[in-house]
Point group: C3
Chain length 385, copies 3
């Protein structure tokens, strides 16, 4: 590996093969995003979420979730400040009683002016919603949405895959792209080497895994989710490095004769990660980095397992709650959150997107940037908000 | 009411009949504003307030209140950080002892340079002050001020009207215009329908009152305060609305044979509201929404009652303190504060002034905007600060 | 003193004889600045500091302190978030293990990609460091640095001067220039007249000392530190002033026959103050106002005394800790911090640099501004960060 990588050449030239990605501070438009967990929205309940800078109101009606803009057309207040539902299919603005049908966003009544000429003439923006596997997905875009499966990590919708309904979510103070690149980073496992999760498992985690070939990395078939996977190229684990005569090595080295499955990490448009298996054999970790605004994202983490019965699914959920959840979220992913927030100043204020100096393991990241640049369905702009 | 309102036409055309109002984020210049309650300023005491972006220092001398800019001409610190008065008529800057006469703002001494050539040559901006009915009013503007009564709610200065000296004030995080439009909004009573004040009184409060005619609404006689009142046009109370077959109705309906006085709400330049009667028969509520900066205002609320003696005035004050004050401020007006702050994002960041969709009851608000645009004495600009 | 001062003339003309100083919101480039106290950096320890907008990492190796930029070239995170040193001369980025030699900033290893082509090709910006008298000084600039002594208060490096190793430092929310002008202000002692330090000492502190002549004020010899001192011109102490018939006088007047040494205050490029003696005979106070960003600075305060032995030096340090430190820092300098922060709004938001009205005692400040404008080695710009 004596040659300079392609991205270094691009840096020198001052151009980038991922310009659209650089413009997507607010995320990609015309995609499906998780908005909340299903269990956060009981029958008849309404709640507000912000995705890609847009304020969105969700309400569950007869089991089905509907979404409209969470900003009354009249004076712009958010319905979710004081959600008020007088009838099954409506949301009424708590301020003047503008009442909209959640199904089509139409203004169906104005409590403070029952004969208003505006009734039937105004319409809230509506958002297509699909609920699947304990998550509520919203399509932030225009026109008819594509199939949900096209914007999901492959396998997520498989009927034998149980998804834990009580996943985690938190607001993280970094741009969503820094989160995606952190989660998908083939070399970032280095920050996790002291994690109690690794120590408990005595897991032989290499310092890094080097993927030096693009072979099979890009998954972009027509009619399928678009993503980047580790691929079929050679993977070289790094177990030990010498610095100034000092050896830095992985805490637990692979044991002879014990074959370990290295987890397969992949990143999918618009912002979903899959790590299979993780945190242990048979469990798949799913993450999403949903843009809230230019400087923060909602970090979703949940887990899946292939099961043969509801009883197995329930046992799996108990296992997550009792054993894995805190360990993964507080003792492992928390390091990733630190890393994302630590990058924010450089990228937001110090010209980081131009100044960064990528290296060989970032090949997987630049492949992701190029894939995202080529296959996204639009750039979200402030004007759309 | 089948036609679209005038303001909707204006929206379509992209112009507004209230452009000056849209420019008045910092308020209207050359008007009188309440700066504090009289009781907040004891004899000899000095305090700082910010109005329309300007930092103002008030001091009471021999009973009279004087106002100068609260920023030393030398290095710009606020006197009010550490108010320092060595003599009756002066304020000395706590930093270098620049000492100004409050009566004309002139630099009369410099403690740290007694022979300074600047003495007698520099002058702080002074502000005309009038004290009336327990409030200190300051004229923020240039040239000789008009009579105070021209910028007050009519009747406020009446000799038989006792004003409660211990009114409320708080900083609210919204532009002052959103506050004015909230306070004066004929339809916003909807948000108060669950207020403990309404419940206690079992008051038959309609969901809204519709004023569909401009008749008598605008009060703009030469030599008189300029304001908008409900007017003499038809008022239609809304008691019940049906949404999707569900009836939404006022909690207490009017009882046959019991005539209720509907309070008269009116809004006056530059930023004063009058609600008569409120919270009960015989009491008038006065409010002001004084711009602090583009995104906050000081919210003043006090009450008046016609009395025949000092004893009656004292009894009135006790009644306000013992019964009405907390009920009105914490259990009723607090809803208005929520509403104003909920509008701020839309108007400040999301092009709300252009995007808003007004409706029939907002006629009174657009009349206010037009009146304010036509009769204000100037737009406050940052450059004046 | 009937004529208007030079600076007033300049104000009238709208030009200033200190334009470069006005551009130096981030400080002067190509100078030495204190970064921390020596005792804050133990052998092998690394810590981050921000100076002039630049993030800097310091590490002590075999007693010597090295400094490099505190931002990994790879993805821009600060090393100091989680300082990680695997070997004596290196800092490794905690995120991906980019490992740099502190001595020249070169990338010597990448833990997560041992064969990286970038090794030996990338280099962190390094900063010259000198440690002296218990302080770590960093040169923020380009090219070979001048001698440290040229950027220090004269005498600071004298071999018989013991400097207290445990000085104070704090972040103050004002531009560094407001701090320099406060510390060096001949008239600002007025704010200290009620200080417990003054009261305890029953010190005859004048209200101000007027320096009305430039004679000997400017010290700008070739090959020497550049600064402004009180000079040899007449000094007129002000003990009493009359305001509107009220006498304002110093709390303790000078006693007949008792000769008091007036402390000599001087200000040196780039940002160092010297007060000799202070807080008492035989002790010299040193201060620095190191720019952090445009709106804050690190305020360093420490003390020196001429000693003949280590035992005397140790006794001096105990005296500072036991008696003077809290008294000076909490009961005296705290007033200066209030003053600096009180000026910030005027200078940062209200055009203070143009609007200020200086007076006779500010002669010493304008001499400082002119000296700094003439003798600085460069203006720090955001682009350099």
């Amino acid at each position: 590996m004596m040659h300079i990588l392609e991205q270094d050449a691009a840096l020198t030239a001052g151009t980038k093969p991922w310009q659209p990605y650089l413009a997507a501070a607010l995320g990609f438009r015309n995609h499906w995003y998780p908005a909340c967990y299903s269990q956060e929205l009981a029958e008849g309940q309404a709640r507000g979420e912000q995705l890609l800078g847009e304020r969105i109101l969700l309400k569950r009606i007869d089991g089905e979730v509907y979404a409209v803009q969470d900003r009354c057309l009249h004076r712009g207040v958010a319905f979710s400040v004081r959600p008020e539902c007088h009838s099954k299919h409506t949301i009424s603005c708590w301020y003047h009683g503008f009442t909209y049908d959640l199904r089509d966003g139409s203004l169906v009544a104005v409590i403070t002016d029952p004969e208003s000429a505006l009734v039937g003439k105004l319409q809230l923006r509506t958002y297509p919603v699909r609920e699947a596997k304990g998550l509520v997905f919203v399509f932030v875009g225009d026109g008819p949405p594509p199939e949900l499966r096209l914007d999901l990590q492959p396998g997520f919708l498989d009927s034998d895959l149980a998804i834990h309904p009580n996943g985690e979510r938190q607001l993280v103070r970094s741009n969503w792209r820094l989160a995606a690149e952190n989660g998908f980073d083939a070399a970032h496992i280095y920050i996790h080497r002291h994690s109690p999760l690794i120590v408990e498992q005595q897991r032989p985690l290499p310092l890094a895994t080097i993927l030096s070939s693009r072979e099979g990395m890009v998954v972009a078939e027509e009619g399928q989710p678009k993503g980047v996977v580790k691929g079929s190229g050679a993977r070289t684990p790094v177990w030990e490095v010498e610095i100034e005569g000092v050896k830095v090595r992985s805490r637990f080295l692979p044991r002879e004769g014990v074959r370990r499955t290295s987890p397969d990490t992949s990143m999918w448009l618009p912002c979903g990660l899959k790590v299979d298996p993780f945190p242990t054999e048979g469990i798949i970790q799913f993450e999403w980095y949903v843009p809230v605004d230019e400087h923060s994202h909602t970090y979703f983490v949940t887990w899946g397992k292939r099961v043969a019965s509801d009883r197995e699914a329930a046992a799996f959920s108990r296992e997550i709650e009792d054993h894995w959840k805190d360990l993964v979220v507080d003792k492992f992913n928390a390091d990733d959150v630190v890393a994302r927030e630590a990058m924010e100043r450089f990228y937001a204020e110090e010209d980081g997107w131009r100044r960064e100096r990528l290296y060989r393991p970032d090949l997987i990241i630049t492949e992701w940037r190029k894939l995202a640049s080529a296959h996204n369905r639009g750039i979200q702009r402030r004007a759309a908000v």
